[in-house]
């Protein structure tokens, strides 16, 4: 028997609250290189999931699985028996999308945000007015996202 067992939780709300807060900080103080790489990469993954509506836990369970039957004790840290959709982050994304970018399509929104995240991750951030406006809008998107995730957390 292991020390502790628990059902697998959906921590995605906490994950993306933290990442969105960090993104806001990087928009204020760009920090290219390894420091911002992981958070910006993970936010890009989130955006890709949003674009393709791919929000689910998908285990790759191997060629065959063996599960204990009811009545037998389960081992392991986590117990999960099926693919569960992770939906908690979606309403916050949709709200930020609607508030900041209104009618723009998911595909265009994600394309635009990923371009800006790539700029933030690089050492070449253009200084023109158009880019500044786009960055300010993207910053507001991530700020709204983190606020939305905090509210649901309350």
């Amino acid at each position: 028997m292991t020390l502790l067992s628990m059902y697998k939780r959906d921590d995605s709300r906490t994950v993306y609250r933290i990442l969105a807060e960090q993104a806001v900080r990087y928009f204020d103080h760009p920090s290219p290189g390894t420091e911002s790489k992981i958070p910006l990469t993970n936010l890009s993954r989130l955006l890709q999931r949003y674009r393709y509506d791919a929000f689910s836990y998908d285990d790759a369970p191997g060629i065959r699985e063996v599960f204990k039957t009811k009545g037998e004790s389960q081992g392991g840290e986590y117990v999960t028996t099926s693919a569960k959709a992770s939906l908690e982050v979606i309403p916050a994304l949709e709200a930020a999308h609607a508030r900041v970018y209104q009618a723009i399509s998911r595909e265009d929104l994600v394309g635009s945000l990923m371009t800006l995240l790539a700029l933030l991750a690089s050492s070449t951030l253009p200084d023109d007015q158009d880019t500044k406006q786009r960055l300010a809008k993207a910053r507001l998107f991530f700020e709204t996202l983190s606020e939305g995730l905090k509210k649901r957390n309350a």
Binding site: K37, N42, A54, A60
Partner: protein, 448 residues
Amino acid sequence: MNPKEFLLHECENVLATLQDVLRHDYAAGSSKEFYNEFCERLNYLKSLIDPVELTDISALALFANEVSVLSTLVHRIERSHAGEFPWPFTEYLKSLANPLCKEHLVVQDEDEPIIRVYAEGGLFSYQINLENDLSVLNVGRRIFTIVFPRTLRHHVLLHAIFGHEIGHAAWAVPQHKSALKGQVVEPLREAGPLNSTSQAKNWLKQSDAPAAIVELLEAYPDEYSDISPNQLDSWFQEFMCDLFGLVTFGPSFLAAHQTLLLALDPSGCLWGPYHPPYVCRRVMLWRACQHLGWPTFPAGIQDRELRASCEGFVKKYSGEAPGKWEDIFSQEQIAKAVDALRDILTKAGTSCYLMPDDPTLLPLVKMLHGQIPPCGSDLRGSEAPANRSVDFRHILFAGWLVADELSAQATVTGEQSYFLELNKLCEMGLLQQRAIDRYNDHKAGDKH
């Protein structure tokens, strides 16, 4: 020590373990990439834990899981001993998986996964761990861990089953998942007994269900009488991955699939939260083979013995017409799914399997008959040998053809060691083929 202090302490422990592990030459190839990625993750995690308030319970719980994930990962690498699994096969597997698993994210040149390998006990251990959890905070480049069964270290013919696992890896990339879901899974779902959970439950209780199914329903009513929506989702993902294996690895996948799955479940009727009954998977593959025209492939072979061998293979692995109960997809559904899958793979840059011609397959089979590792080596004795590039999947196919010939003899003699020897020959063939391929690549590079 409070939870935050403990987590910071454990980060130091994980780093110390990593440095200890990589002092030893455990795994060739991507150690440097792995080390860099791992250190970046650890530093990032420490930067998050440092300022966190002790009252932020959800963040602390999340960070505890993150530290645990890193600890698990470093332990897997510790167990990644270079001699416990077939390196040449793994390199070919990576060449199929890499184009599919490339993510297009913020940092260019760092969007391919880092693929690591280790061996695990048990026949069920064939697996790829994907780092595909939405609730994990701390992933830069994904680290995919391929798991081989330790006892099947040399059995490259069985490793064709990894074609199925690459399907799961592709499913983890949102862009591919969307295409696979819409174009491969949807045609399979649109009709048939697994179209809904209620239909699926009725299907289980149909009067023409195999006797083993009826026995299961009686013996384990709690586990085997219900099918949930999530379960159906998982089952269809498994069907998709089986088609994936067939289309990427070809006939070798068919043989490995049958050999392994029937060995693990001789009735073919067990199922679980993730996997549908094997009998249904087999029939689906039978229909896919029909669509791909493989049953007529032997007729085009000129060499009489090779033709007989191919006919035997087709009969053994794809010969029988399906029973009614397990035949849950129409030919049209399978045709749609297979064509879409081939299209998706081609666009992603992963080559679908194409049946070999006589001049490719025959020398490989002859080499195996002569106990020579099968590959594109020119054995004619000429002063300037013309070694050829050969698709590694043809080497596996040749291996299975000879395995079935020897299997018939083994049934008479009771001697089963032929299979291990054959696998070792094929493993050596893959190793030599890689050398030939690299030589040819360099030569072509020099010319350009």
